[in-house]
Symmetry: D2
Subunit: 345 residues, 4 copies
């Protein structure tokens, strides 16, 4: 039974960790922190948890460094950066859901986040927590940088082919659509119901901070520098993310063969489902599950592969993946506590 | 390990039974029927189940009567009526999610459903499957009539007080709001996305077929004939139901005392949560769970109790409650396979 | 051509006034104020207005008192109270969309708003701006207190019968459902998309500040003190409001006769539509229009009338009604600039 | 005053034509046809029109050929094809909202619609009704083929640059997102509320029938054969469409310059709004208006233009554009009856 702490439990990813962990057979929740509701009971903040957990929220400042086996940091970007060293010293393993330890190159971090990375030594040992790609390293990691939701859906869509000679790596275009919960739990005007309901909007085109994270992972896989055009969009659903990825083929290929290629690549992966021929990803079928559904299509008229990839942004795109990483770090079955179908409708 | 069959597996309540049963430790799914998709795999119909269950759908006509221990009938109203005798003969226990065996009085059935009840003998032994009220009878039942979603939310809201002398039983007014999934899975114009999205509408005011079901249960509890005004409304959410129930008090009462009364009444009930003083039911916090959340308020200016009651219409209002009944009929813990918090947001 | 000013133009009711006024043939928009975006162009704040109006927003402090013929105050409650005297002195007619001048009795205002009314002299001359009830007084008013959205939908539903001897005035129960835009345009956590989407919730049961406003109007109509139980609910749509109103009848009445009674009462009213026999109000059919649709039903089993009433909360429930009042005050046709059907779907 | 007929008035585009025409100063609605509700009043079918128009629906078979000046055909694809010759003979001008007369090349029609075009003579004289591109021809047309919603948003996004030497015409990728109303008004399972709500899905990737329509218009503009990859997506909103268009640049360009290029190209266009530098299209700001909002961005890291383009699919994408065409055909101001801002929120 592993002792678990969650820093930032009153946000959406914190809540989602809690919801999944209260039924996890190998985890025992220790402390929960929140700077917004210190002293409050977590079930007061989230009545959906009532009857399951009643822990009082404390400030992270009051938490000693060696109080748990696994610590999840569900903190705002840049806040995590400074907390990690303290807990690592206390022999706690850390899974950081922020972006702070995802980018290997401090120069790239500085460029996209407009501030220098202050923990470059620790950054070096952080493992990027995408189990389908870095499973072995995650098992022995002290610090896992849990991937962003966009990079998860996109890297999984492209991993099977960026390694191949028959794709044109300079042609990658990614058009992603995200539900609103990705913006986190805070009272901003931009994500008010009336502002975003009944609208589809593009934002941060070719300038989103997940771009370097995507490029880092694709470059590592392709063993060459890969650059992408990445356009995120906001869609009025609470949960769900769909990425549509375009890449030119150097010679034509049938959809049948490409589907097969994907199925082989992900053979045995418990949370990847390659859709049958002629079907495209629909985020609705992944909501509330840890699955990534991938649809594979070749536009034969234009010699181009079009891959669609769907996840629940708060589960496979955040807290579910974090627990998948925890399972690996604890040496238990990777699917423990995550092996359930999504809820439909 | 109980062998389970589901007739009508390709509807929403059928799917929800399946989703809950694939992770139920004491249930093994045997056959699934569908008249719409005979021969099709269930995971083709519902891709969310892909990786969990792949059973082929068959016609109910091809199913032998003694093939399973528990049979769920998730069939359209009036279709169930004729199927039940066949399976009861085969020593299968039946949980019927339709309205066919809910009304004890065949005359009332005929009045509201405009056709005579053809199985009045079997009707007599059917047990109304609201565990909080009929737990003991359910345990030994051969046939359970699983309650409707509206009657569940309403009976649970009123059960603690219709037995009391200090309420005016002639004053009950019920204003319910339901998500769209309650209309079932079929291609009707009335529940098209564009028709119902961004609208709130009343329907079947004072004429909804759940009225006699509500009145039957309240009358049995109150030991006198109770009539209610029941107004259902449609709201553009997929899942969720909120009932607001009004009843006059014969003398004034503080909200504090009424909350306490409700807490005592439901003491030990695993799926009823009486909300803290000053809080009202919000269906959002019950979605994807088997809970019924009840908010209690006295309008002291008008000497009236106003009870709000929220459920997930497909879980506590249908398939979750059906599994709760199954657990009772199997003699296992009532919460087996149902003991999880709702998903928020 | 009347010169118009709008104070608080960057909120939803301000925007809605603007949208309607840019196409109003007898209105010319003069100044617009906003304390949130002073110096900004209104079409920058609301890109939907781009190409129609480009006025710079100024602070209300910089506005002289006699600069326009009609001033709309779309300010937060209690802010209006202090601004009105200044503009009335400048011979501007004022339409106040806040609650500050709606309650005739300062003691009741103090009770529900927890602060004393500071302009009791002006309060006396304020006219409650529900044209269907107070049309003649509105025509000659200097100050119109524009009704709240709930009181509009409710008073219109009850006005035809609270004057009748055959209703029991002590039995009125009002169950209202509102879209989220009624909460205004501000960055609060409570109305974030992810918080309210896919949920139905009750709030302020028997304690909402619109209660005394409803009771004031019903009492005036009934010529006796009327008290009601009023329960507001929040529903995840942007615009739209549905009120379901229950009132006991002293003797039974057919629905046919009650529908006729309503049709007679509202004969000639341009913005009231009594629905055909057997139909209930659906907010969807009033969205983006100034109509109030009213459905009339008798629950003959229980000798009770159940009236459903639907409006667009931002139009008939706020800015449309304000322009209807403006038209009356200007002595032009009441429907000017408002005579369009709602948008469906 | 032009006499207007609408065939297929009980669908969404028919309703939208009606809604816009009841307030059009130069149009008088004559007959309305519907094969689904013959004999019914249109305001019974669409209560939002109640008080504005009450015309009885008739079958198209009963309509004589010369009864109106302008006939809108809002019929299913392939039904229009056969009706057009009859009405043209009667000296009626026809605006066809179906796809039947959009594709100039009968061979391409046959390829994508799997049936031969039976009216190739009439097809030759049909004018593609995108006023920003074909304004002069529309003015004198007898038959206008009103563009599809996707082709409208996409052609307007690309028209300013496919004519330029500095773009790579072989690199065009189009990722479109549509609201559900685009699927029309019919009771299909696929567009039921519960099926599509809370999901984002791709469909008909590289195989949608609007592809040849887009390619026809872009090829004509570019004066060379242009092929595109077109991926449509479904998003749970009622109205609205956003297209994100990617095209490689042969040399780098600043966003500032590209914005200016677009502004010059569309100078004086009444329904095109080029968004300010750094802003992207948001369908929410165009809903219920005839505007097309276009956001212009260069991804300078990848030498690629990314154009976002938003419309209301039922207005600029269908019925609004049809009325814009009607205005041109009648020789009246192009913006008559269409000159209003969208509704927000």
């Amino acid at each position: 039974m592993a002792k678990i702490g969650i820093a930032g439990a009153s946000g959406y990813t914190g809540l989602e960790l809690l919801r999944l962990l209260v039924n996890h057979p190998e985890a025992e929740i220790g402390f929960l922190t929140s700077e917004t509701y210190p002293g409050e009971s977590i079930s007061k903040v989230f009545p959906s948890l009532s009857g399951f957990i009643d822990t009082k929220l404390s400030s992270i400042k009051s938490v000693s460094s060696n109080i748990c086996d696994i610590l999840f940091l569900a903190l705002p970007h840049t806040t995590s950066m400074e907390k990690v060293p303290y807990f690592l010293k206390g022999h706690t393993k850390v899974i950081d859901l922020s972006a702070d330890y995802r980018l290997k190159d401090p120069a790239i971090f500085k460029k996209w986040y407009s501030l220098p990375h202050k923990q470059t030594a620790i950054l070096k040992e952080a493992v990027y927590g995408l189990p389908e790609i870095h499973r072995e390293k995650i098992k022995s990691a002290r610090l896992v940088a849990n991937p962003g939701c966009y990079p998860t859906s996109i890297t999984l869509a492209l991993a099977p082919i960026v390694t191949e000679k028959w794709v044109d790596l300079s042609s990658i275009i990614i058009d992603s659509k995200s539900g609103i919960s990705g913006a986190g739990r805070k009272g901003s005007l931009a994500t008010q119901f009336s502002e975003v309901n009944e609208g589809i909007s593009a934002y941060n085109i070719a300038a989103h901070r997940h771009t370097p994270e995507i490029e880092q992972e694709l470059s590592a896989l392709a063993k060459t520098n890969v650059q992408v055009s990445f356009s995120p969009h906001l869609v009025p659903i609470t949960r769900g993310m769909l990425s549509t990825v375009y890449i030119n083929l150097k010679h034509n290929l049938s959809t049948v063969k490409l589907v097969e290629h994907f199925k082989n690549f992900y053979k045995g992966e418990p949370f990847i489902r390659i859709l049958p021929l002629g079907e495209y990803a629909n985020s609705h079928f992944t909501v509330s599950s840890n699955f990534c559904d991938i649809g594979v299509q070749v536009d034969e008229r234009n010699q181009r592969a079009i891959i669609t990839s769907a996840i629940d942004n708060l589960i496979k795109g955040a807290s579910g993946q974090a627990i998948q990483n925890m399972n690996l770090m604890l040496g238990i079955s990777e699917t423990t506590g995550l092996n359930f179908p999504g809820i439909f409708p």
